[in-house]
């Protein structure tokens, strides 16, 4: 019994350490902020720990983790996100052509994208992040978001359309980023 528990703990530890980087990146795109991302991932993994006996032996523990994270995000960052990430100056999302220095420009691009994501309603943001960062299928995204495939399609399409409508971002997109 003790051996089994120790084995489960070891398994969970490997899971946490192995998935932490990826979960942090996803959480960062969802929350737009370093500490909020850490909080989201930690809180998600705490919940996963409670259910680990069941989750760890499941075929797809990733799906459970995503579901927990999206639920937590949906609850926590519903309204505050927009306020938090809204541009602090009056330039909004429409900005001048980026600086010539590539590094500065890249940083601005990231900032613009995060700000643009922040303008999306949470469900659209979740759909865009899960589909185009997590690379999930529509069905997997629907499972993670607890909604229909139709809702995923709609949210993702609206989210992408809004991102493309932002002048600064459209410019980045045509350049394929500033690699």
């Amino acid at each position: 019994m003790g051996d089994r528990k120790a084995a489960r703990d070891t398994e969970f530890q490997s899971f946490v350490i192995g998935r932490w980087p990826r979960l942090m990146r996803t959480a960062f795109l969802l929350t737009g902020e370093q500490h909020a991302a850490e909080d989201l991932v930690q809180s998600t993994l705490e919940q996963v720990y409670v259910a680990w006996r069941r989750v760890g032996s499941a075929d797809d523990p990733e799906a459970y983790v995503r579901r927990v994270m999206i639920n937590a995000h949906a609850r926590k960052h519903r309204r505050r996100l927009r306020e938090f990430l809204a541009p602090k100056d009056d330039t909004g999302l429409v900005r001048e052509v980026a600086d010539t220095e590539d590094r500065i420009a890249r940083a601005e691009d990231r900032s613009s994208l995060l700000a643009a994501l922040a303008q999306l309603p949470p469900r659209q943001r979740e759909a865009v992040v899960l589909r185009y960062w997590e690379d999930l299928t529509e069905t997997q995204t629907a499972e993670a978001m607890g909604c229909s495939v139709g809702a995923v399609k709609s949210n993702a399409a609206k989210g992408i359309a809004k991102l493309r409508a932002i002048p600064g971002l459209a410019e980045m997109v045509t350049q394929g980023g500033r690699a």
């Binding site: 530890q13 946490v16 350490i17 998935r19 932490w20 980087p21 990826r22 979960l23 942090m24 990146r25 996803t26 959480a27 960062f28 795109l29 370093q34 850490e38 930690q42 809180s43 993994l45 705490e46 919940q47 996963v48 720990y49 409670v50 680990w52 990733e62 639920n71 937590a72 609850r75 926590k76 309204r79 890249r106 691009d109 990231r110 994208l113 995060l114 865009v128 992040v129 589909r131 185009y132 960062w133 997590e134 690379d135 299928t137 529509e138 607890g146 909604c147 229909s148 495939v149 139709g150 809702a151 709609s154 992408i160 991102l163 493309r164 971002l169 980045m172 997109v173 394929g176 980023g177």
Partner: protein
């Protein structure tokens, strides 16, 4: 979230036309400082959560024992409040106090393929203070999930849990939340979820649509993928309508109205909107 996707950045599969967005997302995601996984903190937090869950289960069991005892006495000839109170004093006072039970309303019922299904909603009234919120928070553990992150977030907000039952299967949660600034309150505001009728039919057609709308909405139209539609109308005030007839209905203690519609066999949800 497989490790090999770390280098793919989402540009491989579903939608190459949005590969540029995937690229930008990957670039933005690299902005975050990964740091070292705080395994010990996760473990401590996880254990705290597990301990809390056990504590809640124990408290709920005690509350149920106390409640059943009181009811049994009240049902006996000559039973009175004082005897009920005696029962209560024999059971350690549970921390669950001042919790008003939720109001349950059946939103819809039906039969598909010989299986009965029904959808209900529980609405919890808004706790006024931290003590009530904590008690409600603990009582909500029975659902297995809560609509907010901490008890204090419940103060001043009523909460809802929508449940669906199909055939002999277990009742499962479909939607939960608190009524707040995101709640539909006017015009064509609508929040809905579409799911398979049979919870076991994972990935099956999304035939069951459940939504909340502003009390002013008079008509909702559910559009199905085969192009057909189902129109639902608001049940007139002071009238009741059998729950197997699709309609827009109020639910006890809910500030919004609700609707449930089911797609005809062979098709599934496409959209839903307030049309009047």
């Amino acid at each position: 979230m497989s490790a090999d996707r770390e280098t793919n950045h989402g540009m491989t599969s579903h939608d190459m036309s949005n590969g540029d967005i995937a690229f930008l997302l990957a670039d933005a995601a690299d902005e975050v400082e990964i740091g070292i996984a705080p395994y010990d903190a996760v473990l401590r937090g996880g254990r705290r959560r597990r301990a809390r869950r056990w504590a809640v289960a124990t408290a709920t069991a005690l509350a149920l024992v106390g409640s059943a005892g009181t009811l049994a006495v009240a049902g006996l000839p000559g039973g009175n409040g004082s005897r009920g109170a005696q029962v209560a004093t024999r059971v350690p006072a549970p921390p669950v106090q001042n919790v008003y039970p939720p109001e349950r309303t059946t939103l819809a019922t039906g039969t598909v393929d010989g299986e009965d299904w029904w959808v209900t909603i529980d609405v919890w009234s808004a706790p006024r203070d931290a003590g009530q919120a904590q008690a409600q928070w603990e009582a909500m553990a029975a659902y297995g999930s809560r609509p907010v992150d901490k008890a204090s977030d419940l103060i001043g907000k009523s909460a809802y849990f929508v449940n669906r039952t199909y055939g002999d299967g277990e009742t499962g949660g479909v939607s939960l939340g608190v009524f707040d600034e995101n709640t539909p309150d006017s015009g064509k505001d609508l929040q809905s979820v579409a799911i398979p009728l049979d919870p076991k039919a994972d990935g099956g057609p999304q035939r069951l649509v459940i939504g909340q709308i502003a009390p002013t909405a008079q008509q909702v139209t559910c559009t199905w993928k085969n192009g057909t539609t189902t129109e639902l109308h608001k049940v007139p005030e002071n009238e009741t309508l059998a729950t197997d007839i699709p309609a827009i209905r109020p639910a006890a203690q809910s500030p919004v109205n609700w609707f449930v519609c089911v797609a005809p066999e062979g098709t599934e949800y496409k959209s839903a909107g307030v049309t009047k």
